[in-house]
């Protein structure tokens, strides 16, 4: 039986480079993600009127692993959801009824902007590293 042997010079180096690539990209991508979401958290905080106190309960948490990065923005106040999407009854701390409250739309709009900005920056990062990215955000 005949056989053919193909020797691909430099293949081991290429494999090693590909194995290294995710870790290199993770570090850079994590910086982009954390920066983007830190900015979004500031936008959310500054969007609440100071009298509501809701800006003080906004938190941002970052997690990194070898192959990924996650950032989470939360508003820990139970009133934050009501402020975001509106209420039918609104009472002061003294119990006076102030009527319905229109949706505040403070939290999600900066999140949506940040998602677009972050994805665009990640796309640029991949292109800088020589990868081909198709589609857009």
């Amino acid at each position: 039986m005949s056989s053919v042997k193909l020797t691909w010079s430099g293949l081991e180096e290429l494999k090693a480079a590909l194995r290294q690539l995710p870790e290199e990209l993770t570090g850079e991508a994590a910086n982009i993600i954390e920066g983007t979401w830190n900015g979004a958290a500031l936008d959310v905080k500054s969007g609440y009127p100071s009298r509501t106190g809701l800006g003080r309960t906004v938190t941002v948490e970052h997690r990194r692993s070898r192959f990924g990065a996650v950032s989470i923005i939360r508003n820990t106040s139970p009133r934050a959801l009501w402020y975001e999407v509106g209420t039918q009854v609104r009472h002061t701390s003294f119990g006076a009824n102030r009527g319905a409250q229109r949706p505040g739309h403070v939290f999600y709009p900066p999140i949506r902007r940040a998602r677009r900005k972050g994805l665009a920056e990640l796309r640029e990062m991949l292109i800088r590293h020589g990868l081909t990215v198709t589609g857009d955000v």
Binding site: R102, P109, I111, R115
Partner: protein, 141 residues
């Protein structure tokens, strides 16, 4: 955007034209805040907007609308059914918008679902039920 109310008007017209939805929410549709005394209604509220420019014009605009059914009561059955009907009508649905062409209408990636119960502090046993969605409406001028 030449007419910022165009998408709102188109959404309102589409929802008002649906008899099953109006049977569930007979008090109608309100922008941002309902009239006093209403107990079964739909709230439409613009949350955010974004546009992508190109040479000599706008490529597309994306406007996010809160669309929720609100009902006074402890069960919230009508509000839930109305929200389901809204999803059927709007998710990947059609919309005739003056001055624009609808590209796509879908639930938002972030915070798409709105579902909460609000206590009425004047009557501790009473509740307001809120059920609905945030929809991204993408249009081309």
């Amino acid at each position: 955007m030449s007419n910022p109310a165009a998408i709102y008007s188109a959404l309102t017209a589409k929802l008002l034209a649906d008899a099953p939805l109006m049977a569930l929410m007979p008090d109608g549709i309100y922008r941002d805040i309902a009239a006093a005394g209403k107990t079964k209604f739909i709230i439409l509220s613009k949350a955010s907007d974004f546009r992508q420019y190109m040479f000599q014009g706008t490529a597309y605009e994306e406007v996010t609308y809160l669309v929720k059914a609100v009902e006074f009561g402890t069960a919230g059955t009508n509000a839930a059914n109305a929200a389901a009907r809204i999803l059927t009508l709007l998710q990947d649905g059609t919309l005739t918008i003056t001055g624009y062409t609808l590209m796509v209408m879908q639930l938002s990636e972030d915070g798409g679902v709105v579902e909460y119960t609000e206590p009425d502090e004047a009557n501790l046993d009473a509740r307001w039920q809120h059920r609905g969605w945030n929809f991204d409406v993408t249009v081309s001028p």
